[in-house]
């Protein structure tokens, strides 16, 4: 049984209730509003998510023991996925954040919405965010 924070569990259930792909996309687009903006002026090779078809950048800070996640992308879909990650991670203790398994996108039915390259891009983004959290904690 996977562990999801309550907000993420709620989001999974909401996505599962949407049958129409267009509506699922529209909801994903709305979640772009959840993103903590990461200014394009700070985008660099270090922040880039590799394997994404479009530009996607993430930045993690652990401040006073809590994860702060900033991100930015040129495609609304990717911004939406970043919004989901923001809901999942923002304000958690690093140890809690690192317990989140990557399969929630599948549980949301998002991998049906995403093409394989997007799915890989999502996993690359997830893996990079987790690695960055680990780096912050372990120095």
């Amino acid at each position: 049984m996977s562990f999801y924070p309550a907000a993420l569990q709620e989001l999974i259930e909401e996505f599962q209730e949407i049958d129409d792909k267009r509506e699922r996309l529209e909801y994903l687009f709305e979640l772009a509003d959840e993103v903590n903006e990461f200014p394009t002026s700070q985008w660099s090779d270090v922040t880039r998510v590799r394997g994404c078809q479009s530009e996607a950048h993430v930045h993690i800070e652990v401040d006073q023991g809590l994860v702060h996640f900033q991100s930015g992308a040129d495609a609304k879909m990717v911004q939406g996925m970043m919004g989901i990650l923001t809901i999942a991670l923002e304000g958690l203790a690093p140890a809690q954040a690192l317990m989140i398994p990557p399969d929630f996108a599948e549980a949301m039915g998002l991998l049906n919405t995403l093409t394989p390259s997007r799915s890989n891009g999502f996993r690359n983004m997830f893996d990079k965010v987790m690695a960055d959290i680990r780096l912050q904690v372990e120095g």
Partner: protein
């Protein structure tokens, strides 16, 4: 049965909506006769070709060689080497002809409009051999800079040019390119992957030395294509893949090779695919390609105009000889988002760099959305596509 009804895949739904397949520049759908021919081969005649004397081997060989014969007849070519597709055909010219005929300092002329498949093999050869690569720029009106082309020909040994751009749909002035190239003694390779599906071509009269194309962009199977070669250029080629089928004799001291096309077809060839392509070639004679092409270009031109009115930038000119390809961008809606929204309503389009990054760099963009039409596409589908685009723009722009 209507032409469209002969394609079983076109009857399906995607995400609860009827499929509108507009990614034909990437690959086309297959009519039932092609599926049946391949299935029948595997069910009744499957065997390896050219060697065994048993009946099945004979049927397989006849089926495979019939594809070559039909290609020779349809395109009026003396030499037809069967390859895995356009990419392998171009690589065959680079390795089989280029290595045998190009020395350090020789020039190869390319264009910025080329697909990566007609750039990377030459870059690899340039690195290995010290061959100079010269690129003909693309002008703002989406045509080649023919002044630069003419100036690039001095000392050129080979000219490689795409028949029709897979991004723009623009058909290049090939007759002038071939004539000028031959005047300086350069051989000419035409990447006709996007040209052959849309135009009747007499290879001998047309006049290039090499022409490469793929079956799957003209209702045939994936995994098979051809390189048409003039007898003179054929005699200048050396095999680059060794193995079965391409040899005459093999001893521990060395080997001798076949003298016909088999010399360039090492290993068990694509037998079922050749049989499927034969069926597609036969099927393509059931309608007038030129009439269909005119209809599709008309549709593409109409779609391009409608998209411009919706605020899109359209890349291409949609002239009568161009392919029915419409590449476009919206000023604010990301192209990948656009493609996903279209897919949600059953429309299949392509996004990205279309394996032509130098062209996109020249245009100052990183990708486009591309809708490409083929013989089974209808005006109704084009109108539905434009209506969906309107809805997307109204909702998301």
């Amino acid at each position: 049965m209507s032409l469209r009804d002969q394609f079983p895949i076109l009857q399906r739904e995607v995400n609860g909506y009827p499929l509108v397949y507009l990614d034909n520049a990437a690959t086309t759908q297959k009519p039932q006769v092609v599926l049946d021919a391949m299935s029948h081969y595997y069910a009744h005649s499957n065997a390896n070709v050219h060697r065994a004397v048993h009946t099945l081997a004979g049927e397989a060989t006849e089926g495979y060689e019939a594809c070559r014969t039909k290609l020779k007849q349809r395109y009026n070519a003396e030499r037809v080497i069967i390859t895995s597709g356009t990419t392998e055909a171009i690589n065959l010219v680079a390795h089989g002809w280029g290595r045998a005929n190009l020395q350090k300092g020789d020039a190869v002329v390319l264009t910025e409009m080329e697909h990566h498949s007609d750039i990377v093999p030459w870059q690899m050869l340039a690195e290995e051999r010290g061959v100079e690569l010269r690129y003909v720029p693309v002008l703002p009106d989406f045509t080649l800079d023919m002044d630069v082309f003419s100036a690039s020909l001095e000392g050129a040994k080979l000219v490689c040019v795409v028949h029709t751009s897979n991004v723009l749909g623009v058909r290049n002035p090939l007759e002038a390119i071939i004539e000028q190239s031959h005047a300086v003694g350069a051989r000419v390779l035409i990447d006709a992957a996007q040209g052959v599906p849309h135009a009747s071509i007499d290879f001998t009269e047309f006049g290039p030395d090499f022409m490469a194309f793929s079956a799957h962009k003209m209702c045939g199977p994936t995994g098979i294509g051809a390189l048409l070669v003039t007898p003179a250029a054929f005699d200048e080629m050396q095999p680059f893949m060794g193995g079965g089928d391409m040899i005459e004799t093999v001893t521990v001291d060395g080997s001798t090779y076949q003298t016909n096309e088999h010399k360039f077809e090492a290993g068990t060839p694509r037998i079922a695919e050749a049989i499927g392509w034969s069926a597609a070639l036969d099927w393509m004679t059931s309608f007038d390609l030129d009439v269909e092409h005119a209809r599709l270009v008309d549709i593409a031109g109409w779609v391009a105009q409608q998209l411009r009115e919706l605020g899109m930038t359209v890349y291409g000119r949609h002239g009568p000889d161009d392919a029915a390809v419409v590449s476009f961008l919206h000023p604010t809606i990301n192209s990948d988002d656009m493609a996903h929204l279209l897919d949600a309503r059953g429309f299949a389009v392509r996004t990205g760099h279309h394996c032509a990054q130098p062209l996109l760099q020249r245009l100052g963009i990183s990708g486009t959305v591309r809708a490409s039409f083929y013989i089974y596409n209808t005006r109704d589908e084009a109108e539905a596509f434009v209506a969906e685009m309107k809805d997307i723009v109204e909702t998301f722009a």
